[in-house]
Amino acid sequence: MTSSIFMHPATMFIIGALLLPLAKKCKVQKIWLVLIPLVAFIQIQYLPESFGKVEWLGFDLQFGRVDKLTMVFLHVFTLMALIGSIFGLHVKESGQHVAAWLYVAGSLGTTLAGDYLTVFIFWELMAFASVFLIWYRKRKRSIEAGYRYLLVHTFGGLVLLGGIFLRYQNVGDLTFELISVDQATLADYLIMIGFMLNAAVPPIHAWLPDAYPEATVTGAVFMCAFTTKTAVYVLARGFAGFETLAIMGAIMTLYGVAYAVIENDARRILAYHIVSQVGYMVCAVGIGTEMAINGASAHAYAHILYKALLFMGIGSVLEMTGRSKLSELGGLYKYMPYTMIFTVIGGISISGFPLTSGFISKSMIIAAAGNNHQLVIMAMLLLAAVGTFLSVGIKLPYYVFFGPRDSGLQPKEAPWNMQVAMGIAAFMCIFLGFYPDYLYDMLPYAVNYHPYNSYHLTETFHLLGFTGLGFYLMVKYLKPHDVSNLDLDWFYRRGADWFMWVARKPVSATNEWVSNIYQNIGLRFTMALARALSWFDWEGIDWALDGSARGVVKGGEQVRQFQTGKLQHYIGAAVALLFIVLIVVVLV
């Protein structure tokens, strides 16, 4: 069965990434960048239902498990990899592309995994590969944000791994299937928290608006698509019907959009808006009915395309002008008209205009909440839809491309490859709006929902029109200022400062105090002890040993004086001795 690993789409991206430097050497990098995602996009249609089963250290790993839920996500992930790679064609650094593809591979691997260990392996690959998309921006802020991103995701990964271990201890089985709400234990909730961290559910969401605005232009396009939507997939796979998720998701939609209304940096607005949009999906997963799971999948599909389109539009502006703050932009429609049109298409799609993809997907989740009689949640989702149109549908394009003032910038239109990528994404947004069945046929359950009914249309006309009126009345009050707003990352960013302060001040002071004591008291005591020992050594031990040694030396010295080496002395001494012997003999 090991040969079936090669049909895994992640394998294709990994091998493609490893061979990319070679392709660059042969000057076919651009062809390679389009070829691999295109082949993957076609190849996923031919995947068998189950493949890549491996036994390893007594665990049954399953690298490929394909059903309709998997297929929707695989379809949009590979399509997005293609669009993102085309958008980044002009980037010469192979490293960025390698990181992006390994990241895609991690996402595909997680989506196809049939057991928790495989999920975990690819989960970590995603976190590790994507951090390079931040670091490749090569600014001090990006490096720092990348480290924070990595630390937060490492923490999330550890929580997930802890949950997996506990679950194995409890159940003795690591198959990745739906967990029922009644039987959920601590282990399952730990796994859920690990997944929720990647879905950016508050209060563990702050990594997202912290990191994404600091990523490279192409990196952000990839990042906005994969991490959060993979998390939505695993939540839908394992935790559908958990009421907590429905409530958290509804809160997320409002939390994200509230920050999108007040932020100034365009990519930060979009990043906060991901939190809001993923909230719809998390909420739908929590509702858990067939219609809601359909809605979550459809919204993930549509959202990836229009959010990537918005990130590409704003990314093009950043690439051409070097700026992304609303307070520094304005009047660009004259110089970047195509980028403007594409961004506006993204904006109206995300707001759910009729005949765009947002209309056919978002409304499905809201209707699912209504059908399930969760009216408070439904009202929260609709209020978030109002905020979405306000912040991303109107405010963002208005201040970037039109605006009350002209920024004086005269950038060129974005390069052709960026426009092609934006064109594909924009086409898909409109195409799905006109022909929703293309998406509905892919959904996990049979769809019995028609978005284009007169009531839904009038509801949308009103919500959008009167939100527009609200903007028109308050436009002066919404003027962007060059500030950023505090969020919950304050706890670990200031927390890290306090940790460093504690390390520098109290710990270091205590250390110094202890070493002073040691110097003043300890050292003297040690010296005195050393002197005492040395005295004992000299006087006690050496006296005995050296005394005898000195005796030998002295004796030897005395003997040596006899041995002068002169023959006459010896003869003289021998004669003298003879005399003495004779005298003694004679006298005695």
Partner: protein
């Protein structure tokens, strides 16, 4: 061409304003004829309910969020570097 057209429109703000108001009037009139038997709750039966929801929600959101930002959340962009 697109640029010229947009510039032409931007130079006529009162025309845009009337166009927008005409759209709002159309939306309200359309609401009288909408089919309501898929209604989820009482609000769905009221003509113009979502118009009020949209306007009030939008204004409340702007006032609340901008207010919260001004009194509490707003910091210099290099706040954490200090």
């Amino acid at each position: 061409m697109i640029v010229n057209f947009l510039t032409y429109l931007r130079e006529r703000p009162s025309f845009l304003k009337w166009l927008f108001l005409a759209y709002l009037a159309f939306a309200l009139i359309f609401d009288f004829f909408a089919d309501r038997h898929h209604a989820h709750f009482w609000g769905d039966h009221l003509v113009g309910f979502w118009a009020a929801f949209g306007l009030v929600g939008c204004l409340a959101m702007i006032v609340f969020c901008k207010g919260l930002s001004h009194v509490w959340l707003e910091r210099d962009k290099d706040h954490y570097d200090k």
